[in-house]
């Protein structure tokens, strides 16, 4: 029995009915020690009672608060499995703020700070779950929380997820497992597909926020109801609801295709709304903008549209924006500095950024029909903030284009199901040959946890004679003092040598695959990745790598020479502009995950434009994609494994150091330890001079560490280890 059960936003009861609910709220408090909503209380009790609990609940049901309370209660170690690094980052910030410094919180599984740690919380994506089994004997695991567990339905990632669930159940049979999903009808599928015992499930359907639906066509907005519409399409909104909302200080999320952001056509399409946004003056908002400006390395020459828009309260959010930048943007939004957010699907999965109004102007969702329904419902869930205003019923607006109305209603009103059979148990016919190894390894539990490859891939690397290729790379990349080649020096090498390096790296990479050749597109990606890899292993920060790529692609030396000629009167201003306009941006292939046999032909990032037209934001997105998708997800493991295997055979220290450089981005032992403590390279740059000693037990800082206490951001990064 409950009305809305939003006890956290009620006051003293005034009627008999209120009193009954008040008593109900108090009984929940007596039982759980918290003012939970009935849904939270029920889930909380089931989690206490059962070994395995799987549930679904709509957006805004208060799952985050429930998790926070669970995390506080558990006395042992906890693992939280999330589907994306963006959600991981959000969790990391929240949990670090929530728990005491004696609790180690890391975005991967590692045992460090042992002397000062009483328990551990690891937040990971399923891809990093293998690391758990390295610490099987050490970890005091008590709870594994699988958030947004509908990931189990997503192809290879779903297999990885299911494999992790099964391995945990097998190796840690007494550990409590909790699965959460939005909107699915059958959360019990998680228990069924893995035959998990002593479990319970619940599909909660209690909602906290109302929605008003509006269709849009030819500048006209009309109310409609997907449920019981007696308006016969005649209830028009007088005016433009988006303009009105923005003018009244409300916030709008506009869901659009990434291509519209990349080609900047969204600026024209939504010009009238953009024009309504006012310049930001709030010092805290300006601080976020400044942080982002420094991170990107924006200056007079390199101008970012993203930052320009942010200065008037408009943010852009998509998967190619660097994670750190996304975190800053999310903070900017959650502190109410943003009026409009142009977003792609990255925002769908769990990220907590509610808006007053959601305009779905792109109706393309990926995956199966069930996944499409879930994505749509998740997106709609962003409409309407659950405020903490006392006695306030919240609602939000969802706007769609009239052309999509029928499909929208159909998807909204139909149920979303999880498969009751794991992808691991289904047949793998017609699978791309590049994925066969990983599928076999997931099924047979045959991963090499140290090299992060499948056992089949390791054995292929071992059995191929790569010595000549490896030796050539070592002699080209590492000098006699063990210093790695710079990206600039790589560009200065002769074309023949660069070709040879590329050929050797391609040979190493391909030898871990089942194929014998890479496509032209794949080779081009590899080619572009090499200098980025070299800058990365030199420890260059993100802004430095972007800046170095900018200089290279925009022919900085040519431009400087031309400017010199103009200054010295060697050429006229007309000639200067003409030569500049005719100078093309150097070719750079767009980033693409490797291997991908369908990526046959190289695609230029900038087309055939003049160096004066280079798009700084596009370069930021592409550089992040190279670091994230190409270096980190595609090249790091096979390349470093090849050098490590070579080192085990030959004891060649250059090979070990290059393996370290590729895997960790550094060969410096202190820096490697700092990475294991969760510091980023940007943070290592300023924290390293203050390190006295560091090992798995603790970090000992020098006395002058107190110099950093004045800086809020730096203090926050180190305070957990002081």
């Amino acid at each position: 029995m409950f009305l809305m059960g939003l006890f956290y936003k009620t006051t003293e009861p005034q009627t008999f009915f209120d009193q009954i609910y008040w008593d109900y709220a108090n009984s929940i408090f007596e039982q759980t020690g918290r003012y939970f909503t009935p849904v939270q209380a029920d889930a909380f009790n089931s989690i206490q009672k059962f070994d395995n609990f799987s549930f679904s609940a709509p957006t805004s049901a208060g799952k985050s608060y429930l998790f926070q309370e669970l995390i506080k209660d558990i006395k042992g170690d906890i693992i939280i499995v999330v589907p994306s690094r963006a959600l991981l980052s959000e969790y990391l910030i929240k949990i670090q703020d929530l728990v005491a410094n004696e609790i180690l919180v890391l975005p991967f599984i590692d045992f460090v700070n042992i002397r000062k740690t009483i328990r551990r919380i690891f937040i990971i994506t399923p891809e990093r779950g293998d690391e758990l089994f390295k610490y099987q004997e050490k970890i005091n695991l008590q709870l594994v929380l699988f958030d947004e567990a509908q990931l189990s339905e997503e192809g290879i990632r779903g297999m990885k997820f299911d494999s992790l669930v099964r391995r945990i159940d097998k190796k840690f049979p007494n550990v409590k497992k909790v699965f959460t999903h939005p909107f699915v009808i059958n959360p019990e599928a998680q228990l069924q597909k893995h035959n998990l015992q002593n479990g319970d499930y619940e599909a909660y359907d209690q909602k906290a926020v109302g929605k008003i639906f509006i269709e849009h066509r030819n500048d006209t907005f009309k109310y409609f109801s997907p449920y019981d519409d007696q308006s016969r399409g005649k209830l028009e909104y007088s005016g433009d609801i988006i303009s009105d909302s923005i003018s009244n200080g409300k916030t709008a999320l506009i869901y659009i295709a990434k291509s519209k952001i990349y080609d900047e056509t969204f600026l024209e399409t939504y010009a009238k709304y953009i024009a309504l946004c006012k310049e930001i003056t709030d010092p805290k908002a300006l601080e976020h903008i400044n942080e982002l400006k420094n991170y990107f390395g924006e200056n007079q020459e390199k101008k970012s549209l993203m930052l320009f828009l942010m200065r008037v309260g408009i943010v852009i959010h998509h998967g190619s924006i660097p994670l750190k930048a996304r975190t800053i943007i999310e903070r900017f939004v959650n502190e109410n500095h943003a009026q409009i957010c142009f977003s792609t699907s990255t925002l769908i999965q769990g990220i907590n950024m509610p808006f007053d109004l959601v305009w779905i102007n792109n109706f393309r969702f990926t995956g199966s029909e069930d996944q499409k329904k879930l994505s749509l419902k998740n997106l709609i869930g962003r409409a309407g903030r659950t405020s903490k205003l006392i006695n306030n019923y919240d609602y939000g607006y969802v706007i769609i284009n009239s052309a999509n109305k029928n499909r929208f209603i159909e998807r909204l009103k139909s149920d979303s199901y999880l498969e009751t059979e794991s992808i691991l148990d289904s047949t793998t016919e017609n699978v791309d040959e590049d994925f066969i190894d990983i599928i076999n390894a997931i099924k047979n539990d045959s991963f090499d946890n140290n090299l992060n490859l499948t056992s089949e891939q390791v054995s292929r690397l071992n059995s191929t004679n790569l010595d000549q290729d490896i030796e050539f790379i070592l002699s080209s990349f590492i000098d006699s003092k063990g210093i790695p080649l710079s990206g600039r020096a790589y560009h200065d090498l002769s074309i023949d040598i660069r070709r040879q390096i590329r050929r050797c790296l391609a040979n190493i990479f391909i030898s871990h695959l089942r194929r014998t050749e890479l496509t032209r597109g794949e080779i081009s990606v590899l080619d572009t990745a090499i200098p980025i890899l070299l800058w990365h292993i030199q420890g260059k920060s993100f802004s430095e790598i972007v800046s170095l790529r900018y200089s290279y692609l925009s022919e900085r030396d040519f431009r400087r020479g031309l400017r010199r000629d103009l200054k010295n009167g060697k050429i006229s201003r007309k000639e200067y502009h003409s030569q500049l306009a005719n100078k093309q941006i150097k070719f750079s292939c767009i980033a693409e995950t490797l291997p991908n046999s369908r990526f046959q032909v190289p695609i230029p990032l900038f087309g055939y434009k003049s160096v004066t037209e280079i798009d700084f934001d596009l370069l930021i997105y592409d550089t992040y994609d190279y670091i994230d998708k190409v270096l980190s997800l595609s090249l790091k493991d096979p390349l470093s494994a090849a050098f490590e295997l070579y080192y085990s055979r030959t004891s060649n220290l250059k090979a070990l150091s290059l393996a370290n450089y590729i895997r960790n981005g550094t060969n410096d032992i202190v820096e490697i330890w700092l990475l294991r403590y969760g510091f980023s390279f940007e943070e290592i740059e300023w924290v390293k001079p203050y390190i006295l000693e560091i090992d798995e037990n603790e970090i000992k800082f020098k006395k002058n560490i107190s110099e950093l206490f004045e800086d809020g951001i730096k203090y926050k990064a180190i305070e957990r280890y002081l």
Partner: protein
């Protein structure tokens, strides 16, 4: 639910009573009712205030 009288702020008390009763029995699970309440709050904010507090319980 969406109809003309809702959009001009004509509040049907029996409708509100029905929704509150259903929430009392089933909990706030009916999206249609949540939508109706949103319309009432939008178009008849003053009347909505009378039961907004009870609704949150």
């Amino acid at each position: 639910m969406l109809n003309k009288s809702l959009s001009i702020g004509q509040l049907d008390n029996s409708l509100v009573t029905h929704i509150l009763n259903e929430f009392h029995v089933e909990g706030p699970i009916n999206s249609d009712h949540l939508e109706t309440l949103a319309y009432i709050k939008k178009f008849a904010p003053e009347q909505f205030q009378y039961f907004e507090k009870s609704l949150c319980f």
